[in-house]
């Protein structure tokens, strides 16, 4: 029997979006053991972590597609559909960057030079933290929908996004520092390796860039 009341509800995008950022964060977090293995030069462990990152990125991708197909134009939502799809897209990019950077490292069997290893580890941590903050912000989506995009909850999310911005600025600073540290030792490295190390730093740094863009997208929902 068809029930009118049950059928007028489309599938809510909120929970899937929160689930998506969860997978994305787990994907970014996997860079921690991955780079630990890179620094130690443990190739089996590197491969293991790489396949875990790939699996999570795939999972995020599948969920992204599923969310898209469940968000037809005929859906009436409290926020524009485009804004939610935009949010989904930047969330997904965090996982993409994690996959890209691990791909470059594996593909060239790269190592992090000893003099910048500690600094690099710290830089990766900051980017993972930014992704975590992005997840924390997106996790407030259901509350935001509950209160109708007004009031104390909006202030709370604004604060979270502000923190996220600060974290991004922080990682930018770290990125400049690690670049100059790399610059100082680059003459001692194989030139091609050096070029790709800059590339790796760039890609890792984009994780916090994307995390910040998640914040921007969330902000759009608040206005």
């Amino acid at each position: 029997m068809a029930n009118m009341l049950a059928n007028i509800f489309g599938s809510s995008p909120v929970e899937p979006l929160e689930k998506h950022i969860d997978i994305v964060y787990r994907c970014a977090k996997s860079l921690r053991p991955f780079f630990a293995a890179v620094i130690e030069g443990d190739e089996t462990r590197m491969a293991e972590c790489r396949s875990q990152i790939e699996a999570l990125e795939n999972e995020a991708d599948d969920l992204k597609k599923k969310i898209r197909t469940h968000m037809p134009k005929s859906l009436f939502m409290p926020v524009p559909r485009e804004d939610l799809l935009g949010l989904l897209l930047v969330q997904d990019k965090i996982a993409n960057r994690a996959k890209d950077v691990s791909g470059v490292v594996i593909g060239r069997n790269m190592r992090i030079p000893e003099p910048i290893a500690e600094e690099f580890r710290d830089f990766v941590e900051s980017n993972i933290d930014a992704a975590k903050q992005a997840r924390k912000s997106v996790r407030e989506l259901d509350e935001l929908f509950t209160v109708g995009f007004k009031g104390a909850e909006v202030d709370l999310i604004s604060e979270l996004i502000e923190e996220l911005d600060q974290m991004e600025t922080e990682t930018d600073k770290k990125q400049t520092e690690i670049r100059s540290a790399l610059f100082k030792i680059e003459k001692t490295l194989d030139p091609v390796d050096a070029v790709f190390l800059y590339e790796v730093i760039q890609l890792v740094g984009e994780i916090s860039d994307m995390a910040e863009r998640v914040g921007r997208r969330l902000e759009l929902l608040l206005s």
């Binding site: 029997m1 049950a6 059928n7 007028i8 509800f9 809510s12 409290p78 509350e143 007004k150 104390a152």
Partner: protein, 416 residues
């Protein structure tokens, strides 16, 4: 006399079947959110629904029943041939039942009320004559089908906006909810009781003055609000669950309110929809027992009880399953939103019942849900389905009418 027994028997069977269908399907709309939010268990929901559907049907179902029975067809035109009205009413019941069966098998969202009114208008206009239909009254009814979802939508919008403003946007929504939810409980109980007393009780032979009615409604509503506050005070936050969803305890407070509005919704539903099943039956009985169309003859209370009973049987047999299914699908209707929709719909429906206008309870509820959606309260509403509801609405009236015409001529040819 034998023929008359056959008519009454047939009408009772058809009517009971309709009531059963109404109970099996539509009651879920009222109770599913309460079950979905775990405010009530399925068993409790069925018990509550049974009591309030029955009470609504018996206490406040009289006006709409009388409209279906003698408000649509001009009985004066049939005083020479009362059997035509009997055939027509039987045909209408059968037509509406058939159409509902066909439609729901194909997944079309159609309304019982629209089917039965379409059927009665159809048999009367074609089987008897265009002038046999009280077009003024029919016009009012059809207008109300547009107005009722709209009204419910506007009320729901306002209620939900007030919930946002008074409770949800604040930093300590739980404290605010504890303070304001009893007020909403009072309002819900007051509206329901007042309309029932003013409009319904005269059918059970109680005469109460307007002033007494207001006093009584206030007294009952205060009582219910106090009981509600008692349960609300017992609710304690669960820090573990709060971490995932800050509003979970707030919603539990609203769940108490939702139990009250669910009762109101069941009552309202019973008061309006019982007529779809027993209005035609009442007409048949009136003619068959007196042999004439006595416009003044009163509605026997046992007919209302039969309708109410049929609804309860439907609820008990199939309702459980439907409530569970619907409950899973409408999780977006959290108690804070669901109560706003239910209170708005129930108020609209009860007022319609009091005025004797048969409206679609489900459409009214859908209108109310859209109202909450307009207040940015629902995550996602599928507008395709809303369009389909509207299209089915338009198709149902001619479909019910055509079927009723066919059955009418068949009955006239074959029944004694």
């Amino acid at each position: 006399m034998d023929a008359q027994l056959v008519y009454i028997g047939l009408a009772a069977i058809f009517g009971l079947f309709m009531a059963w269908g109404i109970g099996a399907n539509d009651v879920a709309n009222a109770m599913a959110t309460s079950v979905g939010s775990k405010a009530l268990t399925i068993k409790q929901a069925i018990l509550v629904a049974a009591i309030f559907e029955f009470a609504g049907a018996v206490l406040a179902g009289g006006e709409v029943t009388s409209t279906i029975r003698k408000g649509i067809v001009d009985a004066d035109m049939l005083s020479a041939t009362p059997e035509l009205l009997v055939y027509g009413m039987l045909a209408s019941l059968l037509a509406a039942g058939t159409w509902l069966l066909v439609a729901s098998r194909s997944g079309w969202p159609v309304s019982t009320t629209h089917s039965i009114v379409g059927a009665i208008v159809g048999f009367a206009a074609v089987g008897i004559g265009i002038e046999a239909v009280k077009w003024g009254k029919v016009g009012t009814i059809v207008m109300s089908w547009v107005v009722s979802p709209l009204t419910a939508g506007i009320i729901a919008y306002l209620i939900y906006r007030s919930v946002q403003k008074l409770i949800l946007v604040h930093e300590n929504p739980l404290e605010r909810a504890r303070r304001y939810v009893p007020v909403y409980i009072f309002l819900a109980a007051f509206t329901m009781t007042l309309v029932t007393i003013l409009k319904g009780l005269k059918h059970v032979g109680l005469e109460i003055s307007v002033q007494q009615a207001y006093l009584l409604a206030v007294a009952i509503a205060v009582g219910i609000a106090l009981i509600g506050s008692f349960f609300i005070r017992k609710i304690q936050p669960d820090p573990k669950a709060e971490k995932d969803q800050h509003y979970i305890t707030v919603e539990r407070v609203f769940a108490v309110l939702m139990v009250v509005t669910a009762c109101g919704m069941a009552f309202a539903h019973g008061s309006n929809d019982v007529a779809n099943a027993i209005g035609p039956l009442a007409a048949v009985i009136g003619i068959a027992t007196t042999g004439t169309i006595a416009a003044k003859s009163s509605l026997p209370i046992w007919v209302l009880m039969l309708g109410g009973g049929g609804i309860v049987i439907g609820l008990a047999t199939f309702g459980r399953h439907v409530i569970a299914t619907v409950g899973k699908k409408i999780t977006q209707l959290t108690p804070s939103r669901g109560f706003a929709a239910e209170l708005a719909a129930a108020t609209t429906i009860v007022i319609a019942s009091g005025t004797g206008i048969p409206i679609s309870t489900t459409h009214t509820l859908v209108g109310a849900v859209l109202g909450v959606g307009m207040a940015r309260g629902i995550e996602a509403i599928d507008l395709r389905i809303v369009t389909r509801i509207f299209v089915s609405w338009v198709v149902t009236i001619p479909a019910g009418a055509i079927l009723a015409i066919i059955f009418f001529f068949a009955f006239r040819a074959f029944l004694p």
